[in-house]
Amino acid sequence: MSEIKLMKGNEALAEAAIRVGADAYFGYPITPQSEVIEYLMSEKPEERTGMVVLQAESEVAAINMVYGAASTGKKVMTSSSSPGISLKLEGISYLAGAELPAVIVNVVRGGPGLGTIQPSQADYNQAVKGGGHGDYKLYVLAPASVQEMADFVEDAFDIAFKYRAPVMILSDGLIGQMMEKVSFKDQMERLSDKEIIKRYDDWAVTGKTERKRNIITSLDLQPEKMEARVGRLMDKYKRMEKEDLRFEKIECDDAEYLFVAYGSSARIAQKAVKLAREKGLKVGLLRPITLFPYPKQQLFELADQVKGILSVELNTGQMVEDVRLAVEHKVPVEHFGRTGGIIHTPEEVLEALEQKIINEHGRTRHHKTRESSIL
C-alpha cells in the first residue's frame, strides 16, 4: 500500500484504472463523471504505462471502441453518467452477446431524460435487469466509498476476464464527487501483446496464425446455435451467483428492523442505524455490494429475524422489488427514497422506518399497503 491521498471518487477510479494496468479508456464528457477522463488525460497514462486514453465523438463511439479493444483481449474500460449510459446500452448488449470482457462505469445522475446532474440511484433497474436488448445480465458492483471506487476497478476487471463478460460499476454523483481518504496498490504491469496473444489465443482477434482463426460476433442466425449461446450466458450468471456474490452486514446480529441499501444510500442508512440505536431501536443494515448477483438468500434468512424491512434508495422504488422477491412475504417490506437530485438525510431515513414499518406494521405482521412512496 502506498501513500494515503484525498481524492474524489471519480479521480480515485481513474487512478486505479492506471494502476491495475488497464490498456485503454474511451469516454465522452458528462457531469458528474467528467473528472474520470480529465484526470486520466492530466496523468499522461501513455507515458506512465502506455495506456491509451481517447475522448470519443460520442458515448456510442466510446462503447464501440471498448468493444473493438475487448475483441483483441485488451483490458479496456469506459465511464459515463445516466443519459450517456442509455446511449451505451446497444454496445453493452453486444459486449454481453459477443462474450467480451470490459468494465463500464455509471456515475448515476437523476432522470428520466436530461434529468438532473445531482446524485441518484434511478438506474438500478437499467443496470441490474439488463437495460439493453436481449437475454443478458451485467455483474454489477456498487461502491459506497472513494476507496471502493478505486478497489472495485481491479475486482471488476478480474470478474470481466474470469467470465468473459461486461461488468458494471454502478456509482452515483455523491460517491463520484465526494473526497475521502484513499490508498492504492502498487502499479501492476500491463500485459504485453505477446502475453495477450498467448493467454487469449482461443478467442481474441489478434491476427490469424497457425491456430484456427478467431471470430468475435453476437450473431447466430441458426436458432439452435443462438439458444446455446444464451444458455452459455445463463450458465455464467448462475456461476456468478454461486461464486462471486458480495454483501456487507452492519449491526444485523440483534436487529429487529432492517435497512437494505447500496452505494451512497448505504452510507446514509448506516448513520440512520446509529441514530436509531441511540434511540434504543435495534436496527441493522444489509448492504448489497453486488447488485447482480443479489444477496437473496441472506435477505430470506434475515426476514426470519426482523419484524420489517425498509429499502432505502435514491429513486421511487426499484431495488425494493428484489427485496420483496427475496423475502417472500415473510415480513413487511417498504421503500423510502428521494429523487430529483435530493439526497435523503439520515434523520429522514430513520423517520421513514418508524412511520412505514415500526408504526404501520408494529402491532401486526400483516402489512396493509404495498405502495412505495416518496416522502
Binding site: I4, Q118, L174, Q177, M178, M179, E180, K271, T345, P346
Partner: protein, 188 residues
Amino acid sequence: MTEEIIIAGFGGQGVLSMGKILAYSGIMQDEEVSWMPSYGPEMRGGTANVTVILSDERISSPYLKVYDTAIILNQQSMDKFEESVKPGGVLIYEPNGIHHHPTRTDIDIYQIEANRIATEMGNKKIFNMVVLGAYLKIKPIVKLENVIEGLKKSLPERYHHLIPLNEEAIAKGTQSIVSYKVEKQVLS
C-alpha cells in the same frame, strides 16, 4: 471525536478549498475524513457549500441534515443553514453582506470579519484562510502544523511560496474571531 461541518458561501470565496485543506489536515493526523461538495453549474458565482467530516471512526453518511459547526459566508447560506446547527453547536459567520443576523440562542455564535482582514493583508484570496483560522480558534480539532501540511498537499507546487502568507492569515483569523450575542427579540 467526530466533527461535522458545513461551509457555505459564494462560489469563488474558497469554500471548497477551505474544506479540502481541513480534510487534508485531518488525514495528516490519521483521522477519517469526508468532503462532500455541492456541485454543478451553481458553483461559479452562485452558492457553494461543502460538508466536511473529521472523525476517529469510520464515517457513515457524508451527507447530513444537522451539523456541529456551520461556517456561513453569505446571506443565502445563513437563511439555509442557521437552522441546521445542532443545539449546543457553533455558527461562525462573516458579517459583511449579512442583513439578517442569526437569532438562535441555543448555539454559540461568532463573527469573523475575514473580508476586511484579507483586504488589509493585501490579498483577497486568503479570505478563506482567515475564516479557517477563526474556526480553529473555536474548534482546535487539527494542529496548525497539520494544516500547513494539508495546505502543501492541496495547493499546486507553484503556489507553495504563498504558504507563509496563508499561515499569517490563519493566525489573523485566530486572533480576530469575536463572540456574537443575539439580542432578545421583543415580541410586538
